[in-house]
Assembly symmetry: C2
Homo-oligomer: 440 residues x 2
Amino acid sequence: MLKKIKDKKIVVGIIGMGYVGLPLGLAFASKKIKVIGFDLDQEKISVLNKGKGYLKHIPAKKISSAVKSGYLSATSNFSRLKEVDAIIICVPTPLTEHREPDMSYVKNTAKVIAEYLKRGQLVVLESTTYPGTTEELILPLLENAKNSDNGNFVVGKDFYLAFSPEREDPNNPDYSTASIPKVIGGVTQQCLDVAKALYDQVIIKTVPVSSPRAAEATKLLENIFRSVNIALVNELKMVFDKMDIDVWEVIEAASTKPFGFTAFYPGPGLGGHCIPIDPFYLTWKAREFELNTKFIELAGEINTYQPHYVVEKSMEVLNKFKKALNGAKILILGAAYKKDIDDMRESPSLKLIEILREKGAEVEYHDPLVASLPRMRNYNYDMESVDLSKKKVADYDLVILSTDHSSFDYKLIAENAKIIVDTRNSFESRSINSDNIFKA
Amino acid sequence: MLKKIKDKKIVVGIIGMGYVGLPLGLAFASKKIKVIGFDLDQEKISVLNKGKGYLKHIPAKKISSAVKSGYLSATSNFSRLKEVDAIIICVPTPLTEHREPDMSYVKNTAKVIAEYLKRGQLVVLESTTYPGTTEELILPLLENAKNSDNGNFVVGKDFYLAFSPEREDPNNPDYSTASIPKVIGGVTQQCLDVAKALYDQVIIKTVPVSSPRAAEATKLLENIFRSVNIALVNELKMVFDKMDIDVWEVIEAASTKPFGFTAFYPGPGLGGHCIPIDPFYLTWKAREFELNTKFIELAGEINTYQPHYVVEKSMEVLNKFKKALNGAKILILGAAYKKDIDDMRESPSLKLIEILREKGAEVEYHDPLVASLPRMRNYNYDMESVDLSKKKVADYDLVILSTDHSSFDYKLIAENAKIIVDTRNSFESRSINSDNIFKA
């Protein structure tokens, strides 16, 4: 297997062709390693096989050249797992409504793999998950795979199993899949060796750790660190605001310390499918050991509160002008969860719309990257992005800046809006100051 | 005043010649600006005037050359404040027993300054403190200075007042007073201009902010950030330990992420006179606004618990060997609060000694930089550092590594100790692995 990998005579199967699986597949294909992408979504498969794209931040050209060269193809026929040497699992790990891990995608995928697993195959899980998933959930399923002669598959000998967390950061201008070091933990030393050899073909640097659970914990630490630090500045934002101190100015000043400080910024709430979700995988697992993860809980509490804080602040601002929130016409600027992307997963803008509507406001939104709000797991809005003109902007009682897209005409907005609530310091950072702009 | 500063024709008075005031005074003196150091401690004054030092990390040679050249002298006669153009306050801001700000040093210093303040003088506070100190506590005292004709001193005109937080990091090999950018907030624009001109003479870069309270908040943010992140890894250490995951390995692996992650390390508790103390200045002030600072409280709770955790872990380890803590002979390695310094302020080693003794252990310590434990505010031990030999090390039931001084003979200790509890990952990081070493 090691030789086969080094000679690039392997075929890699990737399950889940989304934000993680697609760029990974392209990375392998660009190194002339054959990739079969597996996905349940027929639509995705057909688009992919036409050499087209469906994620804004991944250039369609990359996909078309990978498909044309024959190194990338896609299928929804999972029996073709028999054709591959390595299987990489890149499926979602969301939370249930009660903030518990929803392991259904991982579990179902592992079951499908167990249907087809053959001797010598490598299986790697990349989905962010609680420590223990690979060894406790996946390993038993594969040991008892259909071809195992009644549970006689021995890991590290008959098949290889490892965990290697994805570290995708869509739209990061400096780093992409191949240039981000990759942590790997194998169930056995053989598992680690094979998985490392595979990733060494495409990733700039692999980082072996002692076990899959160490690798699982690594990814969680990275995201817990972000969640906690964002919550910390969100809390300080609220405290400093009462003291008539601008948290943005304070963060900028602290950033001049050349050691021991890293800047994080407040905002209207967490978004995306990692930071708001992943930390609770550890919380859930910790309960098994009769432990609480207090920082994660507190960070969750404060970050979840942020959209509510923005609405309260908006209500206060309107109140200064003797206007009630109930009945006010409000424009939300930005629907995506971070700037210059079209991804709305867990976007705080969606939560803002919900809370504002509950309180009786008439809400519209504008986002050049999100033409309309589709039905989502938690929301079902029938809304389309409105066009912006001077006249239109002036028409709203309040404009809330939720996502700081670069393409907004901040000057036009500041000059024409009646009142602005800015959750990203977007105006002042562009030297646009005005009495009608309030931070939240 | 601005011209006088630029021509270096000023005299700078520094009140408090400790960890902050002494290096600052040396920085001015090295630029041929005359400095008078004020301190209540006669002993310090007399040592300084002899051109000698009293802080291990500040070379005595620097002091002797500053004193010989005539640019640095020291006095405990505060009436000589009349001789200076600028007064910089570098006095301690500790906590009371009830974890509230002890502002007595700052307040008494401001009162003394008010006795002598004359027209045209600049006063700068550098002590870490709650937002509002400069404007609410010091300003009124100076406006009503003795020479003010019944409260007629106008700030920004008759005298200047600013806050500029110290950012000292003793023993940092890369940065010292002059090379660390300095944040400054003035009560008025004139105050800022004058204070900035002064520091621009010696500091590589000055960072003006809009107000003293923004500058006060900046320093607190820097230290709150550290306190919270250290507490976070301390919590994760305890959680991961139960999951049989080594937090040190996880932190090292996470550090390979080239963006969005900064490593902090767990330990036996916080030490020094900044991180364990400063955050609570904000907590105290926030209460005035009916707000809680939840992250600071949680960080305090978890960090304060760490020495207790180390003792619990030690008890568990001894228990494995059927040995009780009560009656056990224990050696603490390291008394200083961080490696390679001789500073014991708030050192967790002192707390460890206390808890271990309470539980009946016989405790000794070894620290090449701390020959004996003097009487301190919270502790009064009559202990001297013991010498270490093979035989001596083997004599203890348990050795607890508390401070990871570089000079320890880790190999000798590992080979001869019966059992080791390592709170700093000091052995494994030196590739010393053994069954008798346990992490805590």
